[in-house]
Structures are given as C-alpha cells and as structure tokens.
C-alpha cells in the first residue's frame, strides 16, 4: 500500500462507532500524515467539533441508535463550522441513503468497505477545495449573500452541484464560479440549471441560454444569470 504523506498535519475528525473502522482509519490517515481524533456518537462528535479545530470530518451514516445526519445538520446550520468538508461513509450505501447524504450537506459519500487510495484521494480533494477562494452569490438590487466556503456548494456528480439547504437564493441571484474552482471540480460545459442544481463549467456569462429543467417559475425567476470567471 503506497501512501503519500500529507504536506502538513491536517486535523481529521472521525465519527464512527465501530472500533475496527476507527483503528483502520487511524492507521491509514496517520500513515498519510494526518492527525486524527475519534468520536463514537453524535454528542461526542459535536463536542469534538466545538473543542478542536477540524479540517475535515469522516462521518458514519449509522451510529449505534442514531443517524449521522444529525451531525451534518448541526455543522451546516452553524456559521462557525458549516464550511468543514464532510465525507460520509456507510455500509448501507443504497441510493436513498447516498442521495439523502448529499441533500442534507455531505460533500462526499464513500461506501464501506473503504478503499485506502480512494479515501485519501477524496480527503485530499476536499481539503484542497476548502482552501480555494470564496464563491460569491450576488444580487443586482439587493444586499449580496456571501458564501464563505466551497463547502456551501456541494458537487453531487461530474455535472451537478447542489446548494446547501441553508442557502436561500434571493431574487435575481447571480452565481459566480472561479475557473480555478471549476478546474478542481472537473466540471464540464454549462448546460442546465434545475431547481437547486447547476451544471456549469467554461468561463462566460450565461443568461437566456441557460436551460431550466424541472424548475418552478418562482425559482426560475430567482436565478438571473450564471457568471463563470
């Protein structure tokens, strides 16, 4: 198993109630140069978040008699912690669970058993994304909404992005994506905007040519254009 060392000691919080998974993750993550802390339930996890800075959280979907989603909800509703990338993991990787994970605010979903190379690549990607400049949500005739982190916009697949539930699009909202962000995300040409999902890529301003799919009229009016710089 070849593992490249992380450049600096990033803090990773693992919330998983399985001691064998914790042990394995400790081995893999510390071997790659990360520093890890562990929690086994929702309360411990939230406590750890409050007490220690975390650059990324690995969260099990199913925790004893709890659902890991509670941790995601806490983080995404907190102005202090909402930008922390969350990689959700589970042996229950059915479509419903995976979709729910992204809708509620997880940045990534990995099915157990975990593959070390894929896990480390995923962590590296999201740590890098979180270091990118902010994305601004601007309005033409209203105060702009500042999104402070890449974590406010979640990639759901090669083409799609979904807004965090905590972000409300104001009327005439302009979405601005940096080319660096798009390059990192590996996005492809702008084609569609659905109710909360935008597929975007090459630089330019998209107005009338932006297609709306499955979007109700009221929501469509809120998105005036999409600008990619």
């Amino acid at each position: 198993m070849q593992i490249s060392k992380a450049k600096s000691k990033k803090e990773i919080l693992v919330i998983d109630d399985d001691s064998d998974t914790q042990l394995w993750l400790k081995k893999i993550l510390e071997g790659a140069g990360y520093h890890c802390r562990f929690a086994a339930n929702v309360d411990e996890g939230i406590q750890q978040v409050k007490e220690h800075a975390s650059h990324l959280i690995i969260l099990d979907y199913r925790l004893e008699n709890e659902i890991g989603f509670e941790v995601v909800e806490f983080l995404r509703n907190s102005s202090h912690y909402k930008s922390i990338p969350i990689v959700m993991i589970s042996a229950s990787a059915n479509k419903k669970v995976v979709l729910n994970a992204f809708i509620i605010g997880a940045n990534e979903f990995l099915a157990k058993p975990l593959n070390p190379a894929l896990l480390l690549q995923t962590i590296k990607k999201h740590l890098k994304l979180n270091e990118l400049p902010s994305i601004k949500f601007e309005e033409d005739n209203a105060p702009s909404v500042q999104v402070k982190s890449i974590g406010d916009l979640i990639k759901i697949n090669e083409l799609g992005f979904i807004l965090q539930s905590s972000i409300k699009l104001a009327p005439k909202t302009k979405l601005i994506f940096t080319s660096q962000y798009l390059k990192t995300m590996g996005a492809s040409p702008c084609e569609t905007v659905t109710n909360d999902v935008a597929s975007v890529a090459k630089p330019g301003t998209y107005r009338n040519e932006v297609k709306f799919k499955g979007m109700d009229e009221a929501t469509a009016k809120r998105i005036r254009n999409i600008k990619i710089t």
Binding site: D20, T21, K27, K112
Partner: protein
C-alpha cells in the same frame, strides 16, 4: 487442513490485524448469546459492522458473510441468521493469514 482459508493481507495492516481478529472472536462469543435469545437487532449490528470493515482489512469474503447476516436479520429469516452466523464461525476457524508487501 485442506479446507483452510488462506488469505494474504497487506503487510501495512499486520500490526492492527491481531486486534481485528480478537474483535471477531468477541463477535462470535456475543453471537452465541444473541442467537439463544434471537436478539435480531444485536445480530444485525454485528453483521452490518462486519460488512463495513472486513473488506478494508483484506477479508472481502468475511465482509460478504457480514452482509448476509445483516440481510437475513432485515428479512427476519431466523434459519438464514443461524446459517450465516455459522458461516462466520467456520470462516474464522479456518482462516489462515499471511502478510505480503
């Protein structure tokens, strides 16, 4: 023994493998009690965790047994639960591990 199950594990995991195997023995001990009372919820938890962690330790077949235990619990198939727990016990008794880079 001719029916031993030989598995080669990544040498990097050698130091944590004993703990993993010790926990499997704890599982099997706990399952004996859970099977007597047919505590399906506890058996399902053991199966679920095994399904999630065994493959990461290089024991894919054991992970499949864990998934089968979980599935039989979900469908409340008591015969299936006993059969898959027996497979778990047999797998562990026949398992022979070696390590390689």
């Amino acid at each position: 023994m001719s029916n031993e199950i030989h598995v080669t594990i990544d040498k990097d995991l050698e130091d944590i493998m004993p703990m993993f195997l010790e926990n499997r023995q704890k599982d099997l001990n706990a399952l004996k009690g859970h099977l007597e009372t047919m505590d399906i919820e506890s058996i399902q938890t053991i199966g679920h965790r095994l399904a999630g962690n065994a493959g990461s330790y290089g024991l894919d077949d054991l992970g499949h047994i864990g998934a089968a235990i979980e599935e039989s619990c979900i469908s409340k198939d008591e015969a299936g639960i006993r059969e898959n727990c027996q497979k778990y016990s047999e797998f562990m008794s026949l398992l022979k591990i070696s390590y390689a880079d």
